[in-house]
Amino acid sequence: MLEVRSLAKRFGGLRAVKDVSLDVPAGSITALIGPNGAGKTTTFAMIAGFTVPDSGAVRFAGTEITRWRPDRIAALGMVRTFQITQPFAGLTVAENIRVGAFLRHHDVTEATARARAVGTRLGLGPMLDRPAAALTVAGRKRLEVARALATEPRLLLLDEVMAGLNPSEVNEIVALIRQVRDGGVTILLIEHIMQAVAALAETAHVLAEGALIASGTPRQSAADPAVVEAYLGHGAAARMARHE
């Protein structure tokens, strides 16, 4: 479904993403994990057309989409959410979601009905007619997902949609993501909560300092010495091995 080849991006002297290649098979849930500042969000931004890569290529559903504008990519069926939530603050929650629904539904009544259904499914029912600015952090995360889902994507890019949620909220959203995938949507997600990644993803790619250092099942990836070092610092894997 998605093929990323050798993406790279520099910000001034900082090589935020060095050489990232990964595949997301159709119907899968794939995770992209890694420490803070590893370049995960930058990778997402390049895949979805928000940041122009210095080099590399992206193919989505058999189409070469490198350097396409985000709206064309969304129209083709790949939609991202934002780690730093970006609500339309002056609009209600339902109106926010409806903007997404308008991508596939030109009829206003139909788009409104779709938006309300999607919002309700994401647990935003009681908030639908409130201004988006009144949402809590958890509510804003849900709104990001709801808006993206309302576009009826084939591939959904979720950037830390569980950050700041409490454990029961995390469980809810894990169940929801699984349900979305079972509905035929392929998912690529960035997540720090390992327990959620383990519960959801078939494959986890680990990014550190702009480079992919491991790929495998979440359990394999988490146990990889290179990954332990990336998270905990140089020598950490050896120290842990000694303690065992």
Binding site: F50, F88, A148
Partner: protein
């Protein structure tokens, strides 16, 4: 009672048509005309968040187009009107495509629009076809067929009709897919793009629509006063008046420009009675703008008038 204020406003707008007082008709006409100008600006800038400081360019294009067409080529202004509207739309499309493709936003876009209008003012001042600084006098032939009015009430009725159309456009923006997506672009461009909205195209279309409405206002002006010159057509104070009217009343609402025009004329005419020095109007505009930005960013519409609030929450 307060709930029905739009109805009261419509009745109040129609009353002068039955009056024989020139003063009253004139006052009502100028107010309605300001509301029309404000609505022209509001369509792109209120709904789409485009910060145009040079909307006079569309007004001037409309006024000059209809004046040149009839004085040079003998084209009846009734045919000149749609042609001028098309020219206004084309100007909006060209300006929008150029500015938005270059990624201009906020104050950069404001400066470019300001410069655009200024370039047109200078051109109008120096070109032969616009008769330079002398301006164009449209020969007086009062007859409805010539789009000239003996009776001010006829002119007023026409301004009201065009204002109604412009408000219809705004009402359509509140209810349509295009309008909702335009508002989304205003609220957050990144999020809008992520949800599949083409930013450049959407903003350019809004500017073209706004250009057409504003050019139509220019046509009405030329036919009411039968005279156009470069600063009447393209002057910066015209641009400021437009955005002020919309912002006082409430940008991005259907009734905002009407309320704004009424309030602005009240303030302006009262002030003129008290202080009558040249250069006072721009100062007054500046002061009002500051007050609005500082204390009521959503204009009168932000003050929770029942009908406006209801529209706000449910539609859009």
């Amino acid at each position: 009672m307060l709930k029905y204020w739009p109805v009261l406003l419509v009745v109040a707008a129609l009353l002068p048509l039955a009056s024989s007082s020139q003063f009253l008709v004139n006052l009502a006409m100028l107010t309605a005309f300001s509301a029309l100008l404000g609505q022209g600006w509001n369509i792109a800038c209120g709904f789409g968040g485009l910060t145009s400081f040079g909307h006079a360019v569309f007004f001037g294009i409309g006024a000059y187009a209809v004046a040149i067409m009839q004085t040079r080529f003998g084209i009846n202004p009734w045919f000149g009107l749609p042609a001028a509207a098309v020219l206004g739309a084309a100007a909006g499309a060209v300006l929008g495509a150029a500015a938005f493709r270059a990624g201009l936003r906020g104050s950069y876009f404001a400066l470019v629009t300001l410069a655009f209008a200024e370039v047109f003012r200078i051109l109008a001042n120096s070109l032969e076809i616009t008769k330079g600084g002398l301006g164009i006098l449209i020969p007086l032939h009062p007859a409805l067929a010539n789009f000239q009015f003996d009776d001010r009430r006829e002119a007023y009725a026409l301004v009201l009709a065009v204002l109604a159309v412009a408000m219809g456009v705004a009402a359509w923006l509140r209810r349509s897919r295009f309008g909702a997506r335009l508002v989304a672009v205003r609220e957050n461009e990144d999020a809008a793009a992520a949800l599949g909205i083409p930013l450049v195209r959407t903003k350019t279309q809004a500017l073209a629509l706004s250009g057409a409405v504003t050019a139509t206002a220019g046509v009405l002006y030329a036919q009411m006063f039968l005279y156009v010159d470069p600063s009447i057509a393209f002057g910066a104070d015209r641009s400021v008046e437009m955005l002020l009217v919309a912002m006082i009343g409430g940008a991005g609402t259907v009734w905002g420009p009407v309320l704004g025009a009424i309030v602005l004329h009240l303030i302006q005419d009262t002030a003129r009675l008290l202080i009558d020095t040249p250069g006072f109007a721009p100062m007054l505009y500046g002061a009002i703008l500051l007050v609005i930005i500082a204390f009521m960013p959503n204009g009168i519409a932000g003050l929770r008038l029942p009908a406006l609030r209801r529209n706000r929450v449910r539609d859009a």
